[in-house]
């Protein structure tokens, strides 16, 4: 990163000159990302829709990426900028690991991402914000951890579950009622897909499972075995079983009243 800013500064996102603009720039935006921890790891999942104003720009966009062996980033906000930010983030983690011979700590990775978001503040003021969710397995503390961000790069660690993007309010509400501390890995993956379903239910910019086109949410799991993305079969299995239950109960599982 330091090397890049010295030798080819034009390749870094923060160093570009922006033309003055009026109004909002139209570009594809990614929508909802959710994460939840379970004993032994963390799951991170995202829907597949990208929107540009009222138009669906892409139905099968991928918004969850491995950052390295033990962490992943889910992106909400301007898709083009976010994907570039993730690419640079991946590069930095790998570069550090190779040069130093050791991985950055999870805190270190989270801080680094924070700086990168802050460098995008100028763009964010023009409506091109990038707000990722960072999840990883902390090898030292032996547990999954989630970090959420705001547009200014403010970082906060979330306990249990977190969501970002336009459908996050609804997803967070769903997880609030369904989350427990003793979820298994399989239950945690079901929880995040439930939350995404609820987000898609109430937020027009979030895409639900698309059975006709076989487009299902991307679900990733990070444990001490490292990063793993559920195969299409596995995630379609989860999405279909949820869908089936929702045919009877459209609002999903009911939590106890008291």
């Amino acid at each position: 990163m330091d090397f890049l800013s010295e030798h080819q500064p034009e390749m870094l996102p923060g160093n570009r000159q922006l033309p003055p603009t009026q109004g909002v720039i139209e570009a594809p935006h990614g929508t909802t990302i959710v994460a939840a921890t379970f004993p032994g790891g963390v799951v991170l999942a995202g829907d597949r829709r990208a929107t540009m104003g009222n138009v669906i720009a892409q139905r099968d966009i991928e918004k969850v990426f491995p950052a390295d062996e033990y962490s992943a980033v889910g992106i909400a906000g301007t898709a083009g900028l976010a994907v570039e930010m993730v690419k640079l983030f991946q590069l930095e983690l790998e570069h550090f690991e190779k040069v130093e011979g050791a991985q950055l700590s999870l805190e270190g990775k989270a801080n680094r991402l924070s700086t990168m978001i802050r460098s995008n503040l100028g763009m964010a003021m023009q409506g091109l914000a990038v707000v990722p969710l960072f999840a990883g397995y902390d090898v030292d503390r032996e547990k999954g951890r989630i970090f959420s961000y705001d547009v200014t790069g403010g970082r906060s660690e979330e306990q249990g579950y977190a969501a970002t993007g336009s459908g996050s309010i609804f997803a967070r509400g769903a997880m609030k009622k369904l989350f427990r501390n003793d979820l298994t890995e399989a239950e945690a993956t079901t929880l995040v897909v439930q939350a995404l379903y609820d987000a898609a239910d109430d937020d027009s910019a979030t895409g639900g499972p698309d059975v006709a086109r076989r487009i299902y949410p991307i679900v990733t799991v990070i444990t001490d075995d490292g990063f793993r993305r559920l195969t299409d079969d596995e995630s379609s299995e989860i999405a279909r079983s949820i869908l089936e239950r929702r045919l009877e109960q459209p609002d999903g599982p009911r939590a106890a009243l008291l």
Partner: protein, 256 residues
């Protein structure tokens, strides 16, 4: 004021080459071998922190003999080159050939520049392919030339002796355990024809394994895994070491 002596360019170059070769010969040797599933790096290295082998990129590994600070410098340069290239274009566009060329240029320039002392290093850049035919191994001596190697290569102190030994015995399609055993045998040969023991904790071993599911194929083999691989040969090695048991005892005193 005294007039500087005239030194012919030939003599100057020969002196510099001699200087670099001597520096490299002081270091321990290391070997790089092809095996069925990839490429294995084996060397004797008493230090756990200062590595002789390292990952440059997804499929590219780096090995160096000679002066640590000099090859570490080149290694970081290589990682930067590879990461920058991969970020600018695509991960597939980073190749061992390109990297070897950059190293050759750097070493060549330093070697022939009168202002700098020549680097006392010899490098190996290896790239693992989809199939054994796609594997590439380049050896880069101190003067900036490139040698395209196949099968096995040795650099460092007893390089000539070791590579002769390897050339005779290395076969295509060896298993990792077999290749490792051959490498250790080769490294434990002394210039006076005797053998010495290299304990497992002094060995540094790394592989570029084409069967790894991750895109990054480089992996260090340490601790239990290394012990298990060495043990896999245990039965056959013991039989042999009974034969040259006398040799290895002798070599204890002839070490260094």
């Amino acid at each position: 004021m005294s007039t500087p002596f005239y030194v012919s360019p030939q003599q100057a170059m020969a002196d510099r080459a001699e200087y670099a070769r001597k520096g490299i010969a002081r270091g321990r040797s290391l070997v790089v071998l092809q095996y069925a599933d990839g490429i294995v790096f084996v060397g004797e290295n008493p230090s756990r922190a200062l590595h002789k082998f390292s990952e440059i990129y997804d499929r590219i590994g780096f090995a160096a003999a000679g002066k640590y600070n000099e090859y570490e410098n080149l290694r970081i340069g290589g990682v930067r080159y590879a990461d920058l290239r991969g970020y600018t274009y695509d991960r597939d566009d980073v190749t061992a050939r390109g990297l070897a060329n950059v190293y050759a240029q750097t070493l060549g320039t330093i070697f022939s520049s009168a202002a700098e002392k020549p680097y006392e290093v010899e490098l190996v850049v290896a790239e693992v392919g989809e199939t054994p035919e796609g594997d590439q191994i380049y050896r880069l001596p101190h003067d900036g030339s490139i040698v395209d190697e196949h099968g096995s290569v040795a650099v460092g102190g007893n390089a000539e002796l070791i590579s002769n030994f390897l050339d005779q015995r290395h076969e295509d399609g060896m298993s990792l355990a077999e290749a490792l055993k051959l490498a250790v045998q080769a490294l434990s040969r002394e210039s006076n024809g005797t053998q010495r023991e290299i304990p497992a904790e002094r060995l540094e071993v790394a592989v570029l394994d084409r069967t790894r599911p991750q895109s990054r194929k480089f992996k260090r083999i340490v601790g239990r895994q290394l012990a298990r691989l060495l043990e896999a040969n245990g039965a056959s090695t013991e039989a042999e070491s009974a034969d040259n048991g006398e040799d290895s005892e002798e070599s204890g005193s002839s070490e260094e």
